[in-house]
Amino acid sequence: MEALKDMGIYHLSMGNIVMWMVAFVLFYLAIKKEIEPLLLVPIGFGIFIANFPLTGLLEEHGLFEMFYQYGIATELIPPLIFLGLGAMTDFGPVLANPKTLLLGAAAQIGVYGAFFAALLLGFSLTEAASIGIIGGADGPTSIFLSNILAPHLMGAVAVAAYSYMALVPIIIPPVARALTTKEERRIVMTPARMVSKEEKIVFPVLGCIVIILLVPKSAPLISMFMLGNLFMESGVVERLTDVSRNALMNIITILLGLGVGSRMTADTFLRLDTIGVFILGIVAFIIACAGGVLIAKLMNVFSKNKINPLIGAAGVSAVPMAARVVHIMGARENPQNYLLMHAMGPNVAGVIGTAVCAGALISSLT
């Protein structure tokens, strides 16, 4: 009997089995449906293993605990992911049409809409902020912020953020269609100007000066994002660019996935709060899309060069999927319409906007 007590099976609870089911759903989404597989496979596996009893993986100096403590609790991994993202991001569309930065800002309205909705449901200010940031559709930023403000919600926030990012093709079209007329969706935008290499090199430095001076708490994310971009645009550190966007990115994605998944044990995840996080997450997404579209329409009132309001919906980060969805919507309304590069502007601006938003929330709530 004593020997049986040393076996995991003796301590296995119904909660553990339910969490295995959650992990299997993530495996299904990642492997069968190919939804965010790079993250959902390690997160799902983290959940799966974290819910085995007696492994010691989550105790002090346990393997998964170290992934979490050294990688996420220290806030190391999300900025490193931003380094890789920066090394993959072309700011050309934003530089060609700086107005699109405002569309990236507009989509952040979703963060605050969900923030208030979460408060109405009884979440605290810090919890509400962590849930609201899901509306930014930016996984690393969501993890970064929730780890600082509400670490107990981080697992649910991360899974909700990545799941909804994958659902962008389903969420954006009905929202954008409901808020625009056929004529508006058919607007053909004038081709953007060519952006010189020098401008692209200057932008990361300029971006750091403007953003970090105004929102210092956004520095961990913004500085790494801009450094990665400077690597790429300078063209003189090909090895560093390559490591940032490939090897480093892949390694930290594994650590991030396992670290986040390991936080999702039955006692922390199987709570009413988690359902609240998922419901509010989609509310945040919908408000974010709507915010971008409505501000684009407002800009058209004052602007001579009309913009297709559909591109406002790409202000939710989810790069480049949101831009692609908008492009397809525009092309369906008018086959002459090529919105992809125009939509990349608000899309990339949305990444900056969410990081700024996170910095503002940290400044206000810590």
Binding site: L101, F116, A129
Partner: protein, 54 residues
């Protein structure tokens, strides 16, 4: 008990900050674009002048 005043301040300052930061960045980017376009035009004009002299 939710502190709605604090929540309102957080939201208002947040939204204002996001719009002003990205707005200022937009202005900075526009100015930089104009400067670089001028530099490129000058450079092109010089190249044409040199070609003409040849």
């Amino acid at each position: 008990m939710t502190d709605w005043t604090a929540a309102g301040i957080v939201a208002l300052t947040g939204v204002a900050l996001v719009f002003s930061v990205l707005g200022i960045l937009g202005i900075a980017v526009t100015i930089t674009g104009i400067i670089f376009e001028k530099i490129n035009q000058t450079r092109k004009a010089k190249v044409q002048d040199t070609a003409g002299n040849l």
